[in-house]
Symmetry: C2
Subunit: 211 residues, 2 copies
């Protein structure tokens, strides 16, 4: 990552458009994940980036703003997944759309892992966090509705309560933020395949398929 | 939970045997989970229990000691699971023993949820935490070996890498500490059944079983 030039002008513009704020945001997300959002000050972030404590405000207006950008990044990615799963609902089974949603969710988690990690740790301590939790609950509700639709069309087993299916499914998906490391030998595509295969087709071979 | 009587004697014995330390431990685990281990002082804990800051040391020797007890509670439960899965290895298939291990892991998580939640958040910031991480890695390695054994005997599909299977399987199991609430309508037995059914038998019905 190249180091941004410290802002030297007194201009109210916040650094060079795009680039500086993006660099600050990436480092902020890392720090929030390492030491907690509440445990990270703008001073910590400035020090990490080699800015003075006042110069950082040329790049971003506030710590809350950085949190909001980070959570939106994760939520926008996951919202796109559920939007895609709603597309062409007449032409594809709920099963096909759910399977795609699981597959794509894993890709989003891998691609935006630091931002999603932050999102999954949000507990609702501020209005920005509560707004993020509301968006997350809405996504969860749409995914749960898709699970229900797939059960109703006869594609999924009925001996596991639908509300549990959605939680456990995305419990497995979300767990990867805890151990997946980019470049650690397991690629996003392989993870997506592994997760969709396990949850839809099951691990067992030659065992009685209890349906 | 009944409130323990504050220790009034200057005796070096740590409260009444068993009872007091247990009460302190339960409240300590809750506080560690709510506000973080590093963010919780013995003063906070004393205040929660209605003790003076010095009286708490009649009940427990240190904050580290409480952490150690909590992590051992979780690790002892999970160790019993893998020990049980190793029993009667000649008389049962690896598949049967793995399926039982998954089932029992869920029960341990539900039964000891606060202690397991704490364990899953440990990052290795002290010797007690590092010792817990070593025990956890050993349990993970034994579970991964059991997955490998089940694959080798031909019970599990081979198109998902064995190292991933174990991580994803217990990723789903561990995820329940984030959302399961005792008395929330889903009981431990139902959760165990749901998880083992999903991961071994798969969610899909009437879809091509890709083996």
């Amino acid at each position: 990552m190249s180091e941004p030039a410290p802002a030297t002008s007194g201009s109210p513009r916040r650094g060079r458009p795009g680039y500086d704020q993006e660099t600050v945001l990436r480092r902020a997300i890392e720090l929030f994940n390492e030491q907690g959002y509440d445990g990270t000050s703008m001073g910590d972030l400035a020090r990490e980036l080699g800015f003075s404590k006042s110069a950082i405000y040329h790049h971003v207006p506030s710590k809350t703003h950085l949190l909001s950008l980070a959570l939106d990044e994760a939520l926008d990615g996951l919202t796109r997944v559920i939007e895609e799963a709603s597309n062409d609902a007449a032409g594809r089974t709920a099963y096909a759309r759910l399977r795609q949603a699981v597959h794509r969710s894993v890709e989003v988690l891998v691609e935006h892992q630091p931002a999603v990690t932050l999102l999954l740790r949000v507990r609702g301590n501020s209005e920005v966090e509560r707004a993020a939790l509301r968006r997350r609950r809405e996504i969860d509700a749409r995914l749960a509705a898709l699970v229900k639709e797939a059960i109703d069309e006869g594609s999924l087993r009925t001996d596991v309560p639908p509300a549990l299916v959605s939680r456990l499914l995305f419990g497995m998906v979300n767990s990867l933020v805890e151990w997946h490391r980019a470049g650690g030998g397991v690629e996003g595509q392989q993870l997506s395949e592994a997760i969709t295969t396990i949850v839809f087709d099951g691990l067992a071979l030659d065992q009685p398929h209890q349906s």
